[in-house]
Symmetry: D2
Subunit: 162 residues, 4 copies
Amino acid sequence: MAGSVNKVILIGNLGADPEIKRTQDGRPIANLRIATSETWRDRTSGERKEKTEWHRVVIFSEGLCKIAEQYLKKGSKVYIEGQLQTRKWTDQSGVEKYSTEVVLQNFNSTLTMLDGRNSGGGSFGPDDAGGGFGSGSPSGSAPRRAAAADSHRGDMDDDIPF
Amino acid sequence: MAGSVNKVILIGNLGADPEIKRTQDGRPIANLRIATSETWRDRTSGERKEKTEWHRVVIFSEGLCKIAEQYLKKGSKVYIEGQLQTRKWTDQSGVEKYSTEVVLQNFNSTLTMLDGRNSGGGSFGPDDAGGGFGSGSPSGSAPRRAAAADSHRGDMDDDIPF
Amino acid sequence: MAGSVNKVILIGNLGADPEIKRTQDGRPIANLRIATSETWRDRTSGERKEKTEWHRVVIFSEGLCKIAEQYLKKGSKVYIEGQLQTRKWTDQSGVEKYSTEVVLQNFNSTLTMLDGRNSGGGSFGPDDAGGGFGSGSPSGSAPRRAAAADSHRGDMDDDIPF
Amino acid sequence: MAGSVNKVILIGNLGADPEIKRTQDGRPIANLRIATSETWRDRTSGERKEKTEWHRVVIFSEGLCKIAEQYLKKGSKVYIEGQLQTRKWTDQSGVEKYSTEVVLQNFNSTLTMLDGRNSGGGSFGPDDAGGGFGSGSPSGSAPRRAAAADSHRGDMDDDIPF
DNA sequence: TTTT
DNA sequence: TTTT
């Protein structure tokens, strides 16, 4: 549709190390599990409450996959900007299932590390290569960004088993 | 968790009129189906492509429910700001299902009409009453906003059948 | 600094037609004036109040400049996503002035028309060419997006007179 | 204007301790200086470049002021969500000046600490009181949020000297 | 399964 | 199921 926006912004921690897979033609896909949570004090009991929400984040950008692989691990705090996408799949017993994921793929996706632990964090767009912070190309670098720009974009509907 | 953010921003059109339900104790819940879509031209074929994504939006705020009921209908264009939430439920055959929804409930939720059709659009926070644009209290109105501030907040985990 | 985010999201109307200028080496720059406003009812007087805020939006992306030139005009409603930037300049009398602008330049910038008036709106990233909606390349189009990717990025600090 | 959005999202570090002032009638106002920066590698020279942007953040919410006062200091990393506002003022020599600030005031404002240093960070809406994390009321707490909800909203245009 |  |  013309004139629409689909944006998700999360700041949370990884519940596990990133899981990197490859499609048959070699493109990487990174899967992250990110927790966000809210805490509040119950009105009546006065108890401290907490509710954690788990998010499935899928990275289709080759550059961001490299960065996820190299710098993120269980516990890492990240800022991510992506879009909502729901996939339909059929499980072993033939039951139709839906999975809603936060996808980092297009030019408006961002992955930013908020930890000081791994060389201090950095901010990346979808096509940044992850050759270390020395040669890597954080957010704003034109040439690297332009390099391959979501070259998998046309495969968005591929039936990728993950 | 401390220091986390869970935010969804959508601009899209309603695929159907809002569906308003009530909990047993009378609190309203509005369900919206919102479509966002992207269009692009295929690299190789040159064809124009379009992909539409459907989002389930659930409004727990009484004020925003009223506004949805009064002003939104099939085709309405809206800006919404809410948060991601995944519910688990069991269908008739006993199969566990998950549904990920964009929830408008807390103080950071917003619903803004982008259509000129219904009195020109307006922007609302979660506790705005919907007594028409004349008496309604668009975004920024302190007193109305403070009135009932998500009084259902503590019921967030209720098992609401919708 | 590593790990930072600088993002502005506006939905508003143009107060005037876009003003397009060119740098000496021919790169286009579009300037937009966008109004956002809030309305509320005064707590005590019950009066309806409105406050309008005017924003200076500057587009350095060649593709988005074309789109602004072709499709936007006074009154157009737009969604824009850019970043805050403050420029220092000296006026004729030698007084130092500062101007804070919302800049659309890098890969995370977006311009989306929310009007039905001009062929119905569309969503664009920074490198979309504006050859009409037929040949234009809305948000998500990989090849066009990759084309020139902010080729002016290195000139960010140029002393552009506008 | 109906149907508008004015939102700024920043993640950055404080360049100095928060500066807390009070209006004549005792309301607190906190001023923060927040730096965001981008780094990139120059296309031609291959040099590593960095550009830092400084933002003026003004907090009108009493609860968020307390939190800023108690938990933020020079170097703190924060996530903030507010809105753009430009003030006009006249300096000592009678010259008209403009200052654009990110204002945290209304129900859609958020302040989240992203440091582990000060008791681990937390997320707050505009009306959270800052009586320590034990009694404080992080994002989502209905009763505290409802307490005074931007009771200074009507004074938005006060001529506050800061 | 994270984090505080 | 929307919208263009």
